[in-house]
């Protein structure tokens, strides 16, 4: 029962495997024939550079490639849905290939023409994980191209138009606006510098005026084009009768501009156009940073993304590739190993071993018999089966669940409103201050100073600093999150994260590894006779743990047993061949466990003698226990699972006593549980889940975090996606988001000090343009710098990756 320690790494994919089972070629070792064949294929085509660029760059080739898998791609109806452009000779299309992860991938995919002479060119967009391919219709076909990609381990994710919401594209218009604002800022600054330091000379006065008018002309498009988003957003918020941060910004911009126009046209001053262009530039830059979320991940997924595009429909005994949306009632179709069943149907032929974990969170494989109803979303883990459609795609169980209106509801989570509230108080404060000083000078009788004071207060106390500190800090934190493989939908999620009080976890796939639990035996060697007896006894037990041991023992036949007694949930006793067998939990047999492996244990005693124990190991993810220990200090935790309660005792060891554990939860119940927490305790709830069964709960929660088990796996719709191996950092990530609040506050205070200095002069009506021009960039740049170094420092202290 001992596994060999002699393990080596596969040259292709880097997986560890045992030496005695290796496949080799050219003195290189591979874990499987799939990896080896990819190597040989690359070698043949002189593409072994692939292995020089990065160590073990390949993808593990798990499955045999089925010959007819992509036969459906020959159907023109399906082709039309995938192809972007086609004429007589050429076809253009883009594939989404989630496996792209390093420069080797890039190298191989751009050299794909060497495998298939029909491919004219391929161009990789690394950030979006896409390949754009042009091929010649006469020399190759769509099916061939896809098969070539699959052969080298880069199976594209095919999805039909309209089903896939494409990942967010970045906003090119924002880049143009930033570019123009920067251009105007630099030019106006140069003209203004000349103005600030010019000696008062009557000859140069004309030149000075020319500079000012030039600045004025340049600043008009800054205001009307670059800053247009601020005005639009401000107008929108006023229409909805509330004040957001853009309202005071728009006000400040208008006043700055009109005052500058007034000063320049009356030649009473130089205006603040340089400051205005500068602040617009920095604010736009901050928004750009904040909006830079990862482009290769899609946060809005429909469950149809998880389904195959087409299946083989049987017509007169022959398989015809058919779109799943065209499957009609009573159609017979085939499903192969590892494929997902797209419609509710009835098994008509073959052995169905179904994995429902994605749909309802059950971790056990369900074996369906012929004639049994099978729900859409199950994954067939056995071999090929034939099924009869019961309901077309549009009417299946998952579809109905999905179209539940509650699934589409997403309330504004309230954090943006909080920020807007600050903006409101800020605006009121500034207006009060401005009109206060206005009134003061009015009663003093200083009418000239009066107007001056009002406008400069509004200009200097511009809420831009507030906006800058927020956008830059969020931008930096977003970047740090991404380095730790935690991807969020948008920057608002950061502040929502910092509010979280209660965290709800799903079990299957989220805190446990996906896949069958493995059974191990510890103890003295069992005689064949004893194995048979144990098998026979356990086959009478209904407990799921017994089923696992049964499949482990793998005996042919079960003997009939006359005398046995099962105590539900604890164990079974029986007399067989004049021997007394007692099997069950540690307490039931009355002993102590000899192993410290986590999992369900079945201890075996024959005639009162402890023989050994079977351990059904639960594959909890690494670091889960430590994570729970850290999280319980700050948050309330709950674990919901659609699975049975076999793991109750093990879970209890992982979490504290207050943690609520709920088993046998349907997707609906999970969603209701979150809703209850929100309504009864009115606490912000975070849901961490992975499967479709969590989709409702993920949407209902304040922050839904989907766990991504493999680089290329698909996650349900959520606010954030976390890589499975980063899950143990979840507590640090939440703390970093909480830290962002204080970073924003302090950077704001620091920049406010600059502004107050300016304000001191402004209220007296003596703020010179030079001081304004110096204060503005210093304040902006110090905000950017402080938030950058501070957020990195915080992340480092929390033990997160910063590079």
């Amino acid at each position: 029962m001992h596994t060999s320690r002699l393990a080596t790494k596969c040259y292709h994919c880097g997986n560890e495997f045992q030496v005695n089972k290796h496949h080799s070629s050219d003195e290189k070792t591979f874990c499987c024939s799939g990896c080896k064949s990819v190597y040989e294929l690359l070698n043949e085509n002189n593409l072994c550079n692939y292995y020089e660029l990065n160590e073990h760059p390949g993808q593990f080739i798990q499955k045999e490639i089925r010959k007819e898998k992509y036969a459906f791609l020959e159907d023109p109806k399906i082709q039309v849905q995938l192809i972007q452009f086609q004429n007589k000779n050429f076809t253009h299309l883009t594939f989404y290939i989630p496996q792209i992860h390093c420069s080797s991938c890039l190298f191989l995919l751009e050299n794909i023409y060497k495998f298939d002479s029909g491919i004219i060119s391929s161009y990789v967009n690394f950030e979006r994980k896409e390949v754009f391919i042009q091929f010649n219709n006469e020399k190759t076909s769509l099916r061939n191209v896809v098969e070539t990609l699959e052969k080298i381990g880069y199976e594209p994710h095919l999805s039909l138009k309209g089903f896939e919401s494409s990942p967010q594209a970045y906003d090119k218009a924002l880049l143009y606006k930033i570019g123009f604002a920067g251009f105007a800022f630099a030019n106006i600054m140069i003209y203004s510098l000349a103005d600030y330091f010019a000696v008062q000379d009557p000859i140069e006065a004309k030149l000075d005026l020319l500079f000012k008018y030039f600045s004025l002309i340049l600043s008009i498009p800054v205001l009307l084009y670059s800053a247009s988003d601020f005005f639009r957003s401000a107008a929108n918020s006023l229409k909805q009768r509330y004040i957001n941060i853009d309202v005071p910004i728009a006000l400040a911009l208008i006043i700055t501009f009109s005052k500058s126009v007034y000063e320049i046209s009356t030649q009473s001053g130089s205006g603040y156009l340089d400051s205005m262009a500068g602040i617009v530039f920095f604010m736009l830059l901050g928004r750009w940073m904040q909006s830079k979320t990862i482009s290769s991940l899609s946060f809005d997924r429909n469950f149809r993304n998880f389904f195959p595009i087409a299946v083989n429909k049987l017509v007169d005994g022959k398989g015809v590739p058919t779109l799943i949306s065209e499957l009609q009632e009573k159609d017979i179709f085939q499903i192969h190993s590892q494929e997902i069943i797209p419609v509710d149907c009835i098994l008509s032929k073959g052995i169905a071993k179904l994995d429902y974990s994605f749909v309802n969170g059950e971790s056990d494989i369900h074996e369906a018999s012929i004639g049994e109803l099978i729900y859409a979303g199950a994954r067939q883990t056995g071999s090929k089966i034939e099924l009869i459609t019961l309901k077309p795609l549009s009417q299946n169980y998952l579809n109905n669940l999905w179209n539940n209106p509650r699934y589409n509801k997403k309330e504004n989570s309230g954090f943006q409103i909080l920020f807007d509230k600050i903006a409101l108080y800020f605006t009121i404060g500034v207006l009060l201050l401005g009109f206060g000083s206005f009134a003061y000078f009015y009663f003093q009788g200083e009418y000239q100073l009066m107007w001056n004071a009002l406008t400069t207060v509004l200009i200097v106390a511009c809420p831009c600093a507030l906006l800058l500190s927020q956008t830059y800090t969020y931008g930096h934190i977003l970047n740090l999150f991404q380095k730790n493989k935690f991807f969020i939908r948008n920057a608002e999620v950061i502040s929502a994260l910092s509010e979280i009080k209660h965290i709800v976890f799903d079990k299957t796939g989220t805190i446990t590894e996906i896949g069958n639990s493995s059974v191990k035996y510890f103890g003295r060697k069992l005689k064949p006779q004893e194995m048979e007896n144990i098998y026979s006894i356990l086959s009478n037990s209904m407990h799921p743990a017994s089923q696992n041991v049964l499949s482990y023992l793998n005996q042919k036949e079960a003997k009939f047993i006359e005398h046995f007694k099962e105590t539900l949930g604890s164990g079974i006793e029986a007399w067989i061949d004049d021997q007394h067998y007692k099997m069950g939990s540690v307490q039931f047999v009355g002993t102590q466990s000899q192993t410290d492996i986590m999992g369900t244990k079945i201890v075996v005693a024959i005639d009162q003698e402890i023989v050994g124990e079977f351990v059904i190991e639960t594959p909890y993810k690494k670091g889960i226990k430590a994570l729970f220990q850290k999280l319980t200090k700050q948050f309330k935790l709950s674990i919901l699972t659609g699975d049975n309660d076999r793991e109750r005792d093990n879970l209890k060891k992982l979490v504290s006593e207050e943690t609520e554990l709920k088993f046998y939860q349907s997707p609906e119940q999970k969603m209701n549980y979150i809703q209850q927490l929100q309504e009864q305790k009115s606490v912000p709830v975070m849901m961490v889940g992975d499967g479709l069964n969590d989709a409702g709960a993920l949407l209902q929660s304040h922050v839904g975090v989907a766990v991504m088990n493999q680089a290329n796996s698909f996650t349900p719709s959520s606010d954030a996606i976390i890589a499975s191996d980063s899950l143990d950092k979840l507590d640090s990530l939440i703390q970093l988001s909480a830290k962002s609040k204080s970073i924003i506050n302090y950077t704001f205070i620091i920049s406010a000090i600059y502004n107050l200095t300016g304000l001191y002069y402004a209220i007296q009506g003596t703020l010179s343009p030079v001081i304004a021009a110096i204060l503005m960039p210093i304040s902006s740049i110090s905000i950017i710098g402080i938030s950058y170094f501070w957020s990195r420092y915080s992340a480092k202290i929390l033990g997160l990756k910063i590079n």
Binding site: N46, L47, N49, L53, S103, L106, F107, E110, N111, V124, N125, F126, E127, R128, Y170, K172, L175, Y176, G179, F180, F183, A186, N187, I190, I203, E204, K206, L207, L210, F211, F214
Partner: protein
């Protein structure tokens, strides 16, 4: 004085040139993918050698 005006116009035109080259690069999709171009440059040369074999 006229020297400065010429200077002003020339410097403005030059900066305008940079602005348009920036617009051009955005439109051309230079900011679509910031990872692959740096890598593509590296393995292109080796590739040609392989072809010549």
């Amino acid at each position: 004085m006229s020297v400065i005006i010429i200077l002003l116009c020339v410097s403005f035109l030059i900066s305008l040139g940079f602005l348009f080259s920036f617009f051009w690069s955005v439109k051309d999709g230079q900011y679509d993918d910031s990872v692959s171009p740096a890598n593509k440059i590296l393995f292109d040369t080796k590739n040609i050698k392989n072809v010549k074999k």
